[in-house]
Symmetry: C5
Subunit: 361 residues, 5 copies
Amino acid sequence: MASWKQRKRARNLKAGQPPGYLAPSEKPESDRAKVFILEFSADSFAQREVSDAAALRQIDFSDGRVRWINVFGVRDVALLQALGELLGLHALALEDIATTDQRPRAEDYGDNLHIVMRDLKADDAGNIVANQISIVLNRRMLVTFQEVGAAAGPDVLDPLREKLRVGAGVLRASREDYLAYRIVDAVIDNYFVLVERVGDGIDRIQEQALGESDAAFLEEAHQMRRNMIFLKRSLWPVRGMVFGMRHSEDALFTESTQLFLRDAAEHVEQVVDSVEMLNESLTSALDIHLTGNGNRLNETMRVLTVMSAFFIPLTFIVGVYGMNFAHMPELSWRYGYLGVWVVMLGVTAGLLAYFRRRRWM
Amino acid sequence: MASWKQRKRARNLKAGQPPGYLAPSEKPESDRAKVFILEFSADSFAQREVSDAAALRQIDFSDGRVRWINVFGVRDVALLQALGELLGLHALALEDIATTDQRPRAEDYGDNLHIVMRDLKADDAGNIVANQISIVLNRRMLVTFQEVGAAAGPDVLDPLREKLRVGAGVLRASREDYLAYRIVDAVIDNYFVLVERVGDGIDRIQEQALGESDAAFLEEAHQMRRNMIFLKRSLWPVRGMVFGMRHSEDALFTESTQLFLRDAAEHVEQVVDSVEMLNESLTSALDIHLTGNGNRLNETMRVLTVMSAFFIPLTFIVGVYGMNFAHMPELSWRYGYLGVWVVMLGVTAGLLAYFRRRRWM
Amino acid sequence: MASWKQRKRARNLKAGQPPGYLAPSEKPESDRAKVFILEFSADSFAQREVSDAAALRQIDFSDGRVRWINVFGVRDVALLQALGELLGLHALALEDIATTDQRPRAEDYGDNLHIVMRDLKADDAGNIVANQISIVLNRRMLVTFQEVGAAAGPDVLDPLREKLRVGAGVLRASREDYLAYRIVDAVIDNYFVLVERVGDGIDRIQEQALGESDAAFLEEAHQMRRNMIFLKRSLWPVRGMVFGMRHSEDALFTESTQLFLRDAAEHVEQVVDSVEMLNESLTSALDIHLTGNGNRLNETMRVLTVMSAFFIPLTFIVGVYGMNFAHMPELSWRYGYLGVWVVMLGVTAGLLAYFRRRRWM
Amino acid sequence: MASWKQRKRARNLKAGQPPGYLAPSEKPESDRAKVFILEFSADSFAQREVSDAAALRQIDFSDGRVRWINVFGVRDVALLQALGELLGLHALALEDIATTDQRPRAEDYGDNLHIVMRDLKADDAGNIVANQISIVLNRRMLVTFQEVGAAAGPDVLDPLREKLRVGAGVLRASREDYLAYRIVDAVIDNYFVLVERVGDGIDRIQEQALGESDAAFLEEAHQMRRNMIFLKRSLWPVRGMVFGMRHSEDALFTESTQLFLRDAAEHVEQVVDSVEMLNESLTSALDIHLTGNGNRLNETMRVLTVMSAFFIPLTFIVGVYGMNFAHMPELSWRYGYLGVWVVMLGVTAGLLAYFRRRRWM
Amino acid sequence: MASWKQRKRARNLKAGQPPGYLAPSEKPESDRAKVFILEFSADSFAQREVSDAAALRQIDFSDGRVRWINVFGVRDVALLQALGELLGLHALALEDIATTDQRPRAEDYGDNLHIVMRDLKADDAGNIVANQISIVLNRRMLVTFQEVGAAAGPDVLDPLREKLRVGAGVLRASREDYLAYRIVDAVIDNYFVLVERVGDGIDRIQEQALGESDAAFLEEAHQMRRNMIFLKRSLWPVRGMVFGMRHSEDALFTESTQLFLRDAAEHVEQVVDSVEMLNESLTSALDIHLTGNGNRLNETMRVLTVMSAFFIPLTFIVGVYGMNFAHMPELSWRYGYLGVWVVMLGVTAGLLAYFRRRRWM
């Protein structure tokens, strides 16, 4: 699961290379892909691991079973090329699978429909990270390419695999097109979970927005802004992707699956809607916070101004009679000291009246 | 009537479930739905409660009467499934009815037109809450699904039910399509009431915007912003919903009802327009408030600056002659004290002239 | 001429009522409508007042004269219904005429074209208020419904009535369609007058924006903002209205009047353009004002900072030698007093150099 | 060359007048238009001034020469009407020519194509002013109407006239449609010159944005904003104008001139692009300036705070020992004075440590 | 590689000139263009320099080899005209090649497709500069015109030339259309490198945004803003350019190259997407920075206010008893001095309580 910067850098290594170029991995060993094949029909299910490209070529596609080829890791050039051959996949689609900074979309390559998605989740620091899932669908099989290795922990597609294994529901009785829909639906449903977590963060921001804030608040607000930007960039194209699936030229999807895709499109609209709403809430909270800051500054300044205004003239007056001139007649007056107090009280009363009139007190 | 957060959470429980999945309620007893059937023709009217799914199946749809099935509560899985069967409703539509965070829209499922709306109202704290109303319309009956139970107090559709009971007007003489329009119209008319209440709040904000503000002002402004965001998200899709009704494939609506739908579309435009206007007014008020804050800060600072500027040098001067040096010739001058006053008056006059020139006084 | 709030309230009284419902006026007497009929041909002109609905039914429409029925006041339910019958007007159009918060638009009801406009003017306090003018046009007559009574002072359509009376120009020789255009054109031309008045206000704002401002400035700026928002909401839909007139189904407008409508559409564009420009100027002026505030605050703060920075250390120094310790050797030095002055001058010079380097002086 | 305000006022004088109304000039003498006719073919060229409307009617249009009628000044009602007659020009087009606040556009009146443009330039004060140029093109001649008199100094079309006189290039060998393109192109090319001048101003703003600013800076920034707003309003519709020329119904433009019009459209896009870019740069510069202001204020405040914080407690301490109580034991201590200094140094050191920890020093 | 200002100036020199006008260079010697011809087929490759226009005319285009004519420098009028003749290029296309401020686009001139691109890179100061690359493609050859001379250092197209020379890959076996795609693809791939460098700068801004900033920070932020504006203006039209290539009338591109162009379009979307995201991140960072500034100001002010508030009244009190009145009874009280300390401690405690209640300490 690479960060945005690492993705970009991978992209740049390819500048100057021909299209369809698959950059050989720098660390070949750790980048070995794992391939599991799930074969099932309404009453059978098998899962086996395939260790090399040769084994792929020996699959018998004519037995009427539905095949889901799971590929974990997209840096194994030899394997990708073998799969590309097997699928009759265009070099450009293969390049897109191997390059993990793709915009979500669905692309028609004649026989094959190539779907690119991002599985999104928040990492421990609260930043949203993306895991690219590519789907290649044709009339013989469905292949998923997942960026992270199989050992990387729970996977958004695991529940689907479990359902296939158990055999309940319509999943086992359906063909590749419905399976493709279910994969897409699983990824989209996962967005709701993420959006809720983000929503919790924005709730915290909103609660603190009306109070004072410190660097931690700003740090979190900034992270939320970055997350919203990344979410928007990741989710908006999903609409186009589902649209592309529904209008693929080759009518890969049956009519009943089409209804399900319409539902998936509606779910995308809902999650996009929620993100828009959260984004506007965040902007509103930061605006209100800024206004609140201004109010607090005004209040602080007023206290300072009032305080200074009362005492500065008084301090001057007592300073006058602290002078050591030999000839200062007031100093020897009988009621000089009392007079000074009277003057000072008068000044204070005047200022009080003035401030009351300006509504500063 | 669930808040936004509760809705989202319900959504998330379904991640990983198959499409069309109806999550069984956690508190089945309190979630029992109530079903009332209103049957009427121009000269008859009957209302009866149906207690279980079996009774639904015994309805005779061939008697030419118009039937409005009112369902209160959407968490009664058994009943929803029975209704779905009766209506020939797609599992996805059923799921949308049971999941109460839907965007308003109209969806065609062949025979059935599925309409999703939100009845909005402000709760006691001034926050806008939504109550989902789903309508399923076909040539035999009209079914409404309301999120809240029948006991939840006055209902936006009660006046319609009362009119049907009394029998005045065209309502009793019309068919299901006109009834569907009237339900939609009742919900939309209710938006005007809500928008006025929101408008009152924004008026209060505007009035206070030019004065000083405290945390309560900001709190209310922030609530208004959140309300506007929620209103926009809720009302914008209603345009699409009415458009979807007017252009449903199956021509469910007669030509005369079509004219009424055009009117409803116009009402939606008006309420959307009002919300846009209120939103811009709110933004403008907060902008002006921020500018006013800046002005007040400037004014406060100027008073402080002027005050300090006058007295700081004078205080220094009197401090000088408060020193206790043995050899300070001025102290013994005959007119030393007078001279100090002359100097201080001169300094004051100079500062006065300077400030006048800068227009600070 | 009702304000925005009064309008909304009228709207709300209708929630729960059937479509086409005309709310009976609360103060029937003062709401009696006045009806004047203007009948003219190229060589004749007559104006008469009609007192009740019965008289309307006796009009002979077959005499080839052009008829303009002027209705002042829209709360006289009986009269509106009589007119609706006479015109064959749809109940919804009648409702729109009686409800005075309509968006400008043109709606086709088969025979009748229903046009809704707003005559805008600034009231004494400078707020823009709207007076709804509804036009119903068919092949037999033209009816205008004006919200305000005939006694409400000069009217935007008075010059047209005067021209018809005098008989100069093409107006008397034309039919209802050209008259409808001239009414629309008169209302649009009036917008230019209003926009100029608003522009004068914005000029005042711009002039003051660079100087300091007080509450009155903000009050006016806020009013201008509200006016711009209301103007935009009122004028934008006028484009759609003229478009609706030009593309009405029934070809009510002759080809030559079509050219005039194109010109009216261009005028609407111009006035919309001017409002956009004024709005941007206002926004720019307030932005610049905010920046100017910031500059002034900086300048004020700098004066205070410099002043304090010079005198605060000096005041401390003289304070030191104002202490009354029995053993303070400096006090009895021969050149102690002179030395203090030298030190203070040194401090002052040092600060002066520091501030010059920071460019604060 | 009238300012925006004068234009508007002229507009308003026409409110209540019939369409196509030409307001008689108030100062008829100074508003006399001048008319020059340029007649040319590939090998001939003649220029003559026409003094009155009668002379216009005597022109022989059948001689195969290209005719460009230059009209300077648009307030000479008699002459405009004579020209309108000669051209068969619609009253509305004539009104648009005489009213100089038109949006740039191209309008089809059957035979005639009516083009409205604005020649823009910056006046001495740096404000952008507009000079309306109307072009009427048909198969017999081309007429330009320029708002300013011929004596008003250099003219954007002078180089074209000079080229026709000299006879070099394709201009003399082409027909009216190519001439119309060249006029439009000359005006558009002139926009580049203006945009560069505006760009210089914005460069100055950008350079000063990072430093401090005074009223003059804000004045210029505000003028730039106003200029950008005016430019946008003036240039955006030019795109529509060129589009209108390219798609005029009557195929007035030959195929080769069509290619040139496409090029002109591209130039308009470029100038629009530059203006967008300048506008965004200006906005960015003012945003940065505001942020810089905030930074400077923070810095100033910190100096003041640090200064005050150091000396305020010290001044209090020396004040304590300046009191004249009869019984103040410290005053007579042997090392009292030294002790005070030690205390003061300690306070200073403590504050220093505190401020260092907060990174204020 | 000219800056934006120099480009504009070149543009302006052409105002008043006929379309298609090529301004003679002011410094003809340094502006001499260099022309290299690359001729290749699957099994042959030759490169030769052409010194003058005459040599160009002697090329034999019927030998079935692919020809790529590289022109470096676009100010050599004679050579450009010779090439224009050879290609049958429209004068306007030639003018666009010579004028280096073109918007990226693809234009159809019948036989020739004219593509304009910008190669972007960051100069040493971090500003983005553009180098225009024009491509003319027809069925006989491909010509590239590069703004900078061949001696200007590494060139974005050098890797392509090297690949042709070496002969590996499909490049040598393809025709001009594929070569055109590869050139476009090389330029687009280069954008990713640039966007990453810009992204690094924005990362620096983001890191500093939460801390304090100085003029250098603002300078860099402003430069980034300017760069984003320039990038957006440069990259957005590239979408239209690729669209124009894909839909050129003359079907210059084979079906397989069309697939590659679709991929290039997707790459453009990705880079545009990244720029949008960077731009939003930058805006967010500056917003957060402004809010942080406000917070810091509040904090500074609070310290100052608290400090002043504590000491100002105390300093007044000690000033009172520093007065030298002959009759001040307190001065001779036995516990006067102690009493003053008690009073001062009381005042301090009171203020402490007050500030704690306001949460200022």
